[in-house]
């Protein structure tokens, strides 16, 4: 028996490949942006065609909406009741979104941890919450107005309700699905009993809890229009409802765009924060 060496590995790839690779890396860098813009641009083109061809007379052209958006933001074009009020409405909505979200987290986190870790708390609360969960926020609108009155308090409550369940469910899931080996590892290292809650359960549950908070904040933006149907004077939802009543479609579309962008930016901030805080987690880079 003999061992035969089968020659060395072929020399490095020819130099001609290098420029092509450089070109590809430029494309690789702009590719996500280019691909992300295709669908919105197609939609915009369709909108342009549909309005200039007068397939509908009720929707203004993209240009008219763009112009109105500028007026809505800084004023100086139409100078009506909504000119230069974007910041006011955005801040009003943001305060409800973040306030309602914070309140939801304040309740959902401890309740979720309790349900996840204490069996009798699960038996006590889980069936009730599972029945309440499918009831949409819109269905709560009339009751909310009776309980909290017309206005900001009611909007706040509805946003809070919208954000509550995703935070709750992900918290329960997070604290329940800790790898049992980690409890064994902790206990053989001398960390037992209640100390394991802080040293093992909470850190192990953070990716799940974080996902819940992210979904909850997304839903808070989602339900803000319903929340502001309760007769608040300021807020993006209120603007959209006013636009509907006054048949000012451009106002409705401006409100929609601002909510979309604000929700998106808010989510990006949360994702960036998550990527930093959860940098230890291999499957948590959104």
């Amino acid at each position: 028996m003999a061992i035969v060496e089968t020659g060395s590995i072929p020399a490095a790839a020819p130099a001609a490949v290098v420029p092509r690779r450089a070109a590809r890396s430029t494309w690789a860098r702009v590719k996500p942006t280019v691909l992300a813009l295709i669908v919105p641009l197609l939609l915009l083109a369709f909108w342009q065609v549909a309005t200039t061809q007068q397939w509908t007379r009720l929707i203004p052209t993209p240009y008219a909406v763009g112009e109105y958006m500028i007026d809505f933001a800084v004023g100086g074009i139409y100078d009506d009741a909504y000119s230069a009020t974007l910041t006011t409405h955005l801040l009003a909505s943001m305060s409800r979104v973040y306030g309602g979200f914070a309140l939801a987290a304040l309740f959902a986190l401890p309740i979720g941890i309790l349900i996840g870790r204490v069996p009798s708390a699960r038996m006590l609360l889980d069936p009730f919450l599972q029945v309440m969960r499918p009831i949409p926020v819109t269905a709560w609108l009339p009751l909310s107005m009776i309980l909290f009155g017309l206005g900001a308090k009611s909007a706040f409550a509805l946003v809070c309700l919208g954000a509550f369940y995703p935070i709750l469910l992900n918290t329960i899931f997070g604290v329940r699905s800790v790898d049992p080996k980690l409890f064994e590892a902790a206990s053989m290292l001398g960390c037992r009993g209640n100390a394991q809650f802080y040293k093992v359960v909470l850190p192990a549950a953070t990716p799940s809890i974080f996902t819940g908070l992210r979904l909850g904040l997304g839903l808070a933006w989602f339900v803000i229009v319903v929340g502001e149907m309760t007769g608040v004077p300021e807020g993006l939802g209120a603007v959209i409802m006013d636009g509907r009543t006054l048949s000012r479609t451009e106002l409705v579309i401006c409100g929609m765009i601002v909510i979309g962008l604000a929700g998106y930016l808010s989510d990006r901030v949360v994702v960036a924060l998550g990527n930093y805080l959860l940098r230890w987690s291999p499957n948590h880079h959104g």
Partner: protein, 259 residues
């Protein structure tokens, strides 16, 4: 071998029965084993022979159904830092850096930050991971993760290191390196090691005593002292002679079960 007054671990008539739905599983039946300080014991056997169950009982993760497990003559009631476990799938804390994983035990014992740092520095050097002190487990290779797991147990002053197929998930080259490193650590620190494996070769390479276990019900088949000089050569005739004997013992139950 010099017999010390009390063995570090004594297993006396230990049985373990699990109820799985309506089936009763005899994972371990009437095991007796006495381990002296400083020994390197390998438990070998096919799956279902109770070797992991025995190890878990020594760790205190499971309690025997009958019989008793003692450490320094006192019953093993639960997990304790004096008995460190190295798991096959590492079980590192993914949210902690290498440094913090190794410092977990000392910190849990309430040592001050400066003292913890000193201990961590020592053991991080021992396993050669100084360059990766601030990395997270998911950034490490399997071999590096297992080094962290070993350092974590040593940093906690474990007298007895229990290892459950620790190198089973590693590639052959990494496994050989870690086997060498483990022997080196064992010789320098005079730890007592109980090492579970299903590989006869690994057992002969590492152990000064090989306990062969057979399944159905799980029991100790034989207890073999090895006086092969170290470093051991897997290609030597002596090594292979022992391998033949142990392999025969390992498969001795087949005759009984077949036919």
């Amino acid at each position: 071998m010099a017999e010390s007054a009390t063995p570090i671990v004594e297993i006396k008539g230990v049985s373990k029965v699990f109820q799985l739905q309506d089936q009763t599983i005899h994972a371990l039946s009437g095991a007796n084993l006495s381990i002296n300080k400083g020994e390197f014991i390998c438990l070998i056997g096919a799956s279902g022979c109770g070797k992991s169950t025995l190890l878990r009982i020594m760790a205190g993760f499971d309690q025997p159904s009958s019989g008793e497990a003692l450490m320094w003559g006192r019953p093993i009631a639960g997990p304790d830092p004096s008995r460190g476990m190295v798991f096959q799938d590492y079980a590192l804390f993914p949210w902690l850096s290498v440094r913090a994983n190794i410092g977990f035990g000392p910190a849990a014992r309430g040592l001050g930050a400066a003292e913890v740092k000193q201990i961590v520095d020592k053991f991080i050097d021992l396993v050669g991971l100084a360059k990766f002190a601030n990395a997270y487990p998911h950034q490490l290779s399997g071999g590096m993760k297992q080094r962290v797991a070993i350092a974590r147990v040593l940093a906690n002053d474990a007298e007895l290191v229990l290892m459950d197929e620790p190198f089973g998930a590693l590639d052959a080259m990494t496994r050989e390196r870690l086997q060498d490193e483990l022997l080196d650590i064992w010789e320098r620190t005079k730890l007592t090691v109980v090492f579970v494996t299903h590989a006869v070769e690994e057992a002969i390479l590492l152990a000064n005593r090989v306990v062969v276990m057979t399944p159905g019900p799980g029991r100790i088949e034989s207890d073999n002292m090895l006086d092969l000089p170290r470093p051991r050569d897997v290609a030597s005739p002596e090594f292979n002679a022992i391998r033949r004997v142990l392999s025969a013992k390992l498969h001795s139950h087949h005759g009984k079960k077949a036919a």
